[in-house]
Amino acid sequence: MRLRLSEADAAFREEMRAFFTTQVPERIRSVVAERRELSKDDIVETQRILNAAGLAVPAWPAEWGGRGWTSLQKHIWHEEMQLANVPAPLAFNTSMVGPVIAAFGSQEQKERFLPATANIDIWWSQGFSEPDAGSDLASLRTAAVRDGDHYVVNGQKTWTTLGQYGDWIFTLVRTDPDAPKKQMGISFLLIDMTSPGLTVRPIKLIDGGQEVNEVFFEDVRVPVANLVGEENKGWTYAKFLLGNERVGVAPVGSTKSVLARAKQLAKDRLDDPFVAARFAELETELLALELTALRVVANSADGKPHPASSVLKLRGTQLQQAVTELLVDLAGPGGVASGADDTSAVPQWARVAAPRYLNYRKASIYGGSNEVQRQIIAGTILGL
């Protein structure tokens, strides 16, 4: 047991910190710091800077741009990126579809998609959830019927985050409606979002933002070459993907960063013992979470999610939400001035506090709700 980083890891950390704080434009990082909405261009520009430096897809196989880092190095990379308010590489590309193609795709698919995915020349969207399949994902109904060397896809996906920017969408579709178990008739299909019959409809969320979408498929023809792996084995690939999604999912660095900024902004309120105690409490809880993340990282065999990663998702989103709540409280009545422009006398952080709070209610729902995480903990870890 040792507190300090090894010299090599400490140097690595310095290198990451230097890169993120000097090579990614301050203009973009301030959008994150101020909790404003990132544009598509902001995200793309950042990811290309990272990719050029080999920092976009470090966890991929070396052949496709991976770096062979230790779990601790990947953790440091991720934390420093968040602490520097650098927008993370698009998760749909780098954490979801990329690793699936790299692990299960054909050589043609790898060559065609992986470089473009790493460099975000293709913006991927996720087509998993459906209106009638929430936490019960496997009950999905979007159907793909084989017709020569095409699948004909009909159905509807929902909660497709940033789908309005999507070039391609990776989907789970039902290819065998008669399979004995519903998990057994599902395939993993890549679909060009410019295909005829595919339409995207934005869903307005309660904070006024339009980051999620419905995606409709009406007789969309998809070449069989776009099937990943084997037909009807899609559930296996989906579980692999969802496992990856959970690893390192605790948004510690970004939450720390929001909390630190809140402390600066509310500096004159720290003489209020209740305000100061709330910061002390959240900082301590976040530290415990970060340390737990480090423990999980140390015990994660590559690619396999440690069951304790459910603790990270559950507690990570709780704390993320608790920090947004603190900002709502600090903003007070001024917080309702959310629609004012920058000539407002109410500071920007106070104006965004409530919309961000409302938006982050999603954190405990999407990507495996906190109820699903509790189920995993109770079932997998506690044997209940």
């Binding site: 929430g134 019960d136 209740f274 004012a340 409530a354 409302l358 209610r361």
Partner: protein, 385 residues
């Protein structure tokens, strides 16, 4: 202690409920009303005026209905139940309540009839940027200028400040070295008055209101300190908002239990999952406790002791704030993704509960106000405040 409504009160509640149902039976009604100026349904406002609702808290002498806090509470709860955007608590109870409580006979005669009949809407410009809730006005100042008074400074956010036909404004008055709180009336065509309108996240309107040597008339006796009347009328408005919140919580819980009953997952209704139904039970506990406190605070207001009224409102805010956050958060979580969408109703309830909480100043501030006096008595006796 008696929590029963009398027949007239029951009739009022039912009439308001029926009227509101005509426009706000679904969340589409709120969406339509808030989509265009002034941010509420003017027809509904007129019908509320016809029904006498806009004159409820004022004496018959002032052109009102001579009703009291109980009637105000009933209306506020009904508005909250359907998320009606009409600014009853803010315009009628608060802004006009100040006129009724502090205004001279002439001012009341001049201002209240138009308010009661729905032709004029009043706004109270009080919040100042950066000031914590519950602090007296600091940055807007009033100075005497011959016979009149001039205001300077910025108020923001002022709810429906740009839509209002008359502004009541709180200001700091320098009274020979010590600060007093003054209340003033400003005409919307006054010189040096600037109003910038924008939407709030809960779909209504607010404004930044700037005063630059803007002429203003003192409400009531010039130069008198208005802190006490401000505290009392604020207490009335807070309790009305608490009832609005209780109404909103009740519907948020209704929507949630309905969803748990009807939505299927893994082949069974969600209500099969005990972890979810137990949380709905806890929501119910929060709701009923908040309702009890809001009702009690209403009775204390009606009882008439102003100091007791301020404390009771504070307790109601403490309870409502916690309940509103609990129920608002759980209502979305138990719905899952659909609760996050603006198309579905429940998220609007959480949104409005959040806005009410911010407007009330939040739980901690009120808890601290109670904590400061906790050593001065043995037990809280609800029957003898």
């Amino acid at each position: 202690m008696d929590f029963e409504l009398d027949d007239e009160q029951t009739a009022l509640r039912d009439a308001v409920r029926r009227l509101l149902a005509s426009t706000y039976a679904s969340i589409d009604g709120r969406r339509a009303a808030t989509a265009k100026a002034p941010g509420w349904d003017e027809g509904m406002w007129g019908r509320l005026a016809e029904m006498g609702v806009l004159g409820l808290p004022f004496t018959e002498e002032d052109g009102g209905m001579g009703a009291g806090p109980v009637e105000v509470a009933l209306v506020a709860e009904q508005l909250g139940r359907v998320l009606a955007p009409e600014p009853f608590a803010e315009a009628v109870v608060l802004a006009c309540g100040l006129v009724a409580a502090a205004g001279s006979a002439e001012q009341k005669e001049h201002l209240l009839p138009g308010v009661v009949d729905g032709t004029t809407v009043a706004a109270f410009a009080h919040f100042e940027p950066g000031a914590a809730a519950g602090t007296p006005p600091r940055s807007v100042t009033a100075t005497q200028d011959g016979d009149g008074w001039l205001l300077d400074g910025v108020k923001e956010p002022v709810l429906h400040g740009a839509q209002a036909g008359v502004l009541v404004v709180s200001a700091r008055v320098d009274a020979g070295g010590t600060d007093r709180t003054g209340l003033f009336v400003v005409a919307t065509d006054a010189a040096g008055l600037d109003r910038v309108d924008y939407p709030t996240y809960d779909g209504i309107r607010a404004a930044r209101v700037t005063f630059a040597s803007t002429p203003a008339a003192p409400l009531g006796a010039a130069g008198a300190d208005a802190s006490d009347v401000l505290a009392l009328v604020t207490a009335h408005a807070q309790v009305a908002l608490c009832h609005e919140a209780v109404g909103a919580m009740a519907t948020a819980l209704d929507l949630t239990t309905e969803y748990l009953r009807t939505r299927k997952q893994f082949g069974v209704p969600l209500k099969t999952f005990q972890a979810l139904t137990f949380r709905a039970a806890d929501m119910y506990v929060s709701l009923e406790l908040a309702r009890s406190m809001a009702l009690w605070a209403t009775l204390v207001l009606a009882d008439g002791d102003p100091d007791a009224a301020v404390v009771a409102a504070t307790r109601a805010v403490v309870q409502t704030s916690a309940a509103g956050r609990h129920i608002g958060q759980e209502a979305i979580q138990l719905h899952g993704g659909i609760g996050m969408t603006a198309e579905y109703a429940v998220g609007h309830y959480t949104t409005r509960l959040t806005a009410i909480d911010q407007l009330l100043g939040g739980r901690t501030a009120h808890l601290k106000a109670l904590a400061d006096h906790v050593g001065e008595y043995d037990v809280v006796d609800p029957l003898a405040v």
